[in-house]
C-alpha cells in the first residue's frame, strides 16, 4: 500500500469512527428541536422542519426539569467539594506522614477496591433509613464523601513531593496543618482539578444508588428523572431527546473545558496494576 493510500485509509477510518461516536449525540440535539410527533415518521427526519423550543419549555414548565437540574447540581457539587477535602487530606497523610498502622490501613483500603459497591447497597439503605436519611439529599451525598480511588490518586501524586520541603517548614516551627494548607495544597493543585472533574462527573452520572436512595420525585437527580420520564413517555421521542440534552450538556461542556486534566487523571488512576 502506498503511503498516500495508507494515509487515506487511516483518516477515512478515523472519520467513520468519529461519526459513529458523535452522530447519535448530534441527532439527539436535532430531534430535541422537533415538534411533537415529528420524529415518529418515515423516513426519519434528520433536521427539524420548524425548529422549536417547545420540548424544553414543556420539560421546565410542566415536567419539573428545573428542579431535577437543581438537585443534580446541588448533589454533585456537595459531593465534589467535601470529598475533595477528605480525599486530599487522607491521600497526603498516607503518602507523607508517618504513623503506626499506615501501611496496614492502606492495604486494607486497596483490598476493599475489589468489592463492588452494590454489595454494600442493601445494608446501606437500611442504615440510612435508620438515620432518617432515605429520600433526602443526604442519602446520596453522605456515602460519597470519600472514595478509595480518590485517596489512592492523591497518594500517588503526593508521593512525589520532596520531604525536605516539609522538614524545612517543621524546623521553622510550622504546624502540620499550616504545612498542609500553605505548602502542600498549592503543590497538589493539578491533582485537585483532576479529582474534582472525576468526582463531579461520577456523581452527576451515577444511577443505581440514587435510584434506590431517592424514593420521592422532589429529590430526583436528572438521570433518575429521565429514566422515570422515559417509562411514562415512551412515544414522545422529541421530549425525551430534550431531556437527554439537558442531562448530558453540563458534563460534556465540563469535560471539553477541562479534558486535559481528565485524561491525565484517567492514566494516573490506571497505573496501579
Amino acid at each position: 500500500m502506498s503511503p498516500r493510500m495508507a494515509k487515506a485509509v487511516i483518516n477515512g477510518l478515523l472519520i467513520a469512527a468519529a461519526t459513529i461516536a458523535i452522530a447519535p449525540l448530534l441527532y439527539m440535539v436535532s430531534v430535541s428541536f422537533m415538534t411533537q410527533g415529528e420524529a415518529s415518521a418515515l423516513p426519519p427526519p434528520v433536521l427539524p422542519t420548524h425548529a422549536t423550543l417547545a420540548n424544553y419549555r414543556e420539560l421546565f414548565m410542566n415536567a419539573g426539569m428545573g428542579r431535577y437540574l437543581f438537585n443534580s447540581l446541588l448533589i454533585s457539587t456537595c459531593i465534589t467539594v467535601v470529598s475533595l477535602a477528605f480525599n486530599l487530606m487522607a491521600g497526603y497523610a498516607f503518602a507523607k506522614l508517618e504513623f503506626k498502622g499506615r501501611a496496614r490501613i492502606f492495604q486494607l483500603l486497596l483490598g476493599a477496591l475489589v468489592i463492588p459497591a452494590q454489595v454494600a447497597m442493601l445494608p446501606l439503605f437500611l442504615l440510612l433509613k435508620y438515620m432518617g436519611l432515605v429520600n433526602t439529599y443526604g442519602a446520596v451525598i453522605v456515602p460519597a464523601l470519600a472514595t478509595i480511588f480518590g485517596i489512592f490518586l492523591v497518594r500517588q501524586y503526593a508521593s512525589g513531593i520532596p520531604d525536605d520541603l516539609m522538614e524545612a517548614a517543621r524546623i521553622d516551627g510550622a504546624g502540620e496543618f499550616r504545612i498542609f494548607a500553605t505548602i502542600i495544597m498549592p503543590l497538589l493543585k493539578p491533582i485537585m482539578v483532576t479529582l474534582a472533574i472525576f468526582t463531579f462527573l461520577a456523581a452527576w452520572n451515577d444511577f443505581m444508588w440514587p435510584l434506590i436512595a431517592l424514593t420521592g420525585q422532589e429529590h430526583y437527580t436528572l438521570p433518575i428523572a429521565l429514566a422515570s420520564l422515559s417509562r411514562e413517555h415512551v412515544q414522545d421521542s422529541e421530549l425525551m431527546m430534550a431531556g437527554s440534552v439537558v442531562t448530558i450538556l453540563p458534563v460534556l461542556v465540563l469535560f471539553l473545558a477541562l479534558q486535559r486534566y481528565y485524561l491525565e487523571g484517567l492514566l494516573l488512576g490506571s497505573v496501579k496494576g
Binding site: S40, A120, E176, N205, M208, S244, S270
Partner: protein, 292 residues
C-alpha cells in the same frame, strides 16, 4: 508525636465515611444474606429469622437466577472482547503518524464516555426503534432485513452490547494510546528492516509489548461489565421475556421491588464471588509462562 496526631486528624474523616458507609455495610450484607430479612422484618425487626444458607440454596434452584447469570456472562464474554478490540483499533488509528487532526478525533471518540448512561440509552432506544428508528430505516433502504432490536429476545442483548461498546470504548482507548506510545520505535524500525509485514509487526511487537496494559484493562473492564444494570433498566426493563435481566437487575428487583433484602444480599455476594474468581483467574493466567 505531633505528626502522628495530625496524620490521624487527616485520615479520620475519610475513614469514618468509608468505614461506616462502605466496609460496615459490606459485612452487614454478609449477615443479611443468612437471614430472611423481608417486608415483615422491615416493619418489625422481631420478625427476623436466621436461615443459614437457605437464601443461597433457594437462589441456586431458581431458573431466573441462572438465566440472569447467563445473560450477564453473555454480556461479559461478548462485550469485553468487542470493547477492547474497538479501543485498541481506535488507539492504533490515533497513534498512527499518518493520522491528521489527532486532538479533534481523540475528543470525538472519547465523548460518549463522559455522557450519562440513561440519557444516551434513551437516544439508542429511539435510533433502534423498530418502526421509526434510523437504524432499521437505513437497513431497509439498502435492502437488508430489518430487526426488532429491543423487542426480540434474541436481539435485545446484542443491541445492549453494541450500546455498551459505543459508550465505553473511548476509556480504554486512552489507556491503550499511552501503552502504544511507550513501545520503543526502534523495535518497529528493526522489524521493517527485516522485512516484517504490518500484521507481523502487530502480532510480534505491538501485542506482546501491550500485554501488561491489556491484562490490567481486561480485568477492569470485566469487573465493570459484570455490573450491568442501567442499560437494561432503561432500554428494556429487563425484557423482552427477561432476556436482558442481569444479576444486578435481579438484585435490584429482589431487594427494592419485593423487599427480600436477605435474598438480594445473597445475590450480591454470589456476584462478588464470581467476579473475584474470574478476575483472579485472569491475573493468574496472564502470569503463566512469565519469569517469576
Amino acid at each position: 508525636m505531633n505528626t502522628t496526631r495530625a496524620a490521624w486528624v487527616f485520615i479520620t474523616p475519610a475513614l469514618i465515611v468509608l468505614g461506616l458507609f462502605f466496609l460496615l455495610p459490606v459485612v452487614a450484607a454478609l449477615v443479611l444474606s443468612v437471614t430472611d430479612y423481608d417486608l415483615y422484618a422491615l416493619a418489625d425487626i422481631r420478625n427476623l429469622r436466621f436461615v443459614a444458607l437457605e437464601n443461597y440454596w433457594t437462589l441456586l434452584q431458581r431458573p431466573l437466577f441462572w438465566s440472569a447469570l447467563g445473560h450477564t456472562v453473555y454480556f461479559v464474554v461478548v462485550g469485553v472482547p468487542l470493547s477492547l478490540g474497538a479501543s485498541l483499533g481506535a488507539a492504533m488509528l490515533l497513534n498512527s503518524p499518518l493520522a491528521r487532526f489527532k486532538p479533534f478525533f481523540r475528543t470525538a471518540l472519547f465523548a460518549p464516555v463522559v455522557t450519562t448512561v440513561v440519557a444516551v440509552a434513551v437516544i439508542w432506544r429511539y435510533l433502534f426503534n423498530t418502526k421509526y428508528g434510523l437504524v432499521n430505516y437505513t437497513l431497509d433502504s439498502i435492502g437488508m432485513p430489518t430487526v426488532d432490536w429491543l423487542g426480540d429476545p434474541h436481539w435485545a442483548m446484542p443491541t445492549i452490547i453494541l450500546f455498551a461498546v459505543w459508550k465505553n470504548f473511548g476509556y480504554n482507548m486512552i489507556i491503550f494510546m499511552a501503552g502504544l506510545q511507550a513501545i520503543p520505535g526502534d523495535l518497529y524500525e528493526a522489524a521493517r528492516i527485516d522485512g516484517a509485514s504490518a500484521w507481523a509487526q502487530f502480532r510480534h511487537i505491538t501485542l506482546p509489548m501491550l500485554k501488561p496494559t491489556m491484562v490490567m484493562v481486561g480485568i477492569l473492564t470485566v469487573s465493570g461489565y459484570f455490573q450491568l444494570f442501567a442499560e437494561p433498566y432503561v432500554m428494556t426493563e429487563g425484557g423482552p421475556l427477561q432476556s436482558t435481566t442481569s444479576v444486578l437487575y435481579l438484585m435490584y428487583e429482589e431487594g427494592f421491588k419485593w423487599w427480600n433484602l436477605g435474598s438480594a444480599s445473597a445475590v450480591a455476594f454470589i456476584l462478588f464471588v464470581i467476579m473475584f474468581v474470574v478476575t483472579a483467574a485472569m491475573l493468574r493466567l496472564s502470569k503463566r509462562g512469565e519469569p517469576a
